[in-house]
Amino acid sequence: MPFLTIETLPGESIQTGPNKITPFSQAVKLLLPGSRGGLIWNRPVSVLVQGTDGSENVLPVVDVTRIAQLALLGIGLAIGILFLLINRR
């Protein structure tokens, strides 16, 4: 079994009215050698919507909380570094 694997997997399709929904998830697997354990991070990535007329539409699943957290972390770090640079002058 490989040490690190990243794979996008489709789920079971669900028929809802005229649309057929297929969810997709991305799993990051980090397994220690010798069945000693590991780390798995699985998250939803997108949803494929297929209409009866043959149209296909991919809707991304956006993690707003994660984006907001990273943005705040980035802003905080940027302003902190800016303060540090101003203080040195």
């Binding site: 997997l9 489709p10 789920g11 079971e12 669900i14 809802t16 009215g17 649309n19 929904i21 969810p23 997709f24 998830s25 799993a27 697997k29 220690l32 069945s35 000693r36 354990g37 590991g38 780390l39 798995i40 991070w41 699985n42 998250r43 939803p44 949803v47 919507v49 539409n57 809707l59 991304p60 699943v61 956006v62 993690d63 707003v64 909380t65 907001a68 957290q69 705040l72 972390l73 802003i75 905080g76 770090l77 302003i79 902190g80 303060f83 540090l84 101003i86 203080n87």
Partner: protein, 171 residues
């Protein structure tokens, strides 16, 4: 005191058997752990309400670790005294006390193992399918965002405070 003799070969077979008994539940747990990498662990079963259908989607993060060891004391001291005295070394059966008095047995072995793990799950979005089409609504965790905001604010205030402090005089 009743004493029984066990051959080292039998002892190592016993240890191997006990090791297999440890490995089996570990492998079973690992198999269950790997199941969280499937799509079913991210998307829950759909919930129908009238003409609307809702599919909850969550992010799953799991970590697991095991450790185990098996050893025997037979190999270390078995026949050591005979070697030191220059006598001929021959394999003797290991004597294990079964008296239950807590006396040290001349030879023995054992194994042990342990492990731990944790799985976190967090709602990310909800897929809503209704008469007006399919849409993905994000699930916003205001508490986490507020915590991140106050952490960033605290860092900025701390840096600003350091700026205002007069520089240390060098003497």
């Amino acid at each position: 005191m009743k004493e029984t003799s066990i051959n080292p070969v039998e002892l190592s077979a016993m240890i191997e058997k006990s090791a297999a008994a440890i490995v089996e539940p570990v492998e079973r747990t690992l198999e269950h752990f790997l199941e969280i990498a499937s799509v079913k662990s991210v998307y829950d079963s759909p919930v129908k309400h009238g003409e609307t259908m809702i599919i909850p989607a969550a992010e799953v993060l799991g970590g697991l670790g095991f450790g185990m060891g098996v050893g025997t004391a037979v190999g270390e001291n078995f026949g050591k005294k005979d070697k030191e005295e220059g006598a001929e070394v021959e394999e003797k059966p290991v004597e294990i006390s079964q008296s239950g008095t807590g006396e040290k047995a001349p030879g023995g072995g054992g194994g042990g193992g342990g492990g731990g793990g944790r799985v976190f799950a967090r709602p990310v979005a909800v897929i809503i399918s209704g008469p007006d089409g399919v849409r993905v609504e994000p699930v916003v965790d205001a508490t986490k965002i507020a915590l991140a905001f106050f952490t960033a604010l605290g860092f900025m205030v701390g840096m600003a405070g350091r700026m205002r402090r007069p520089p240390r005089s060098q003497e």
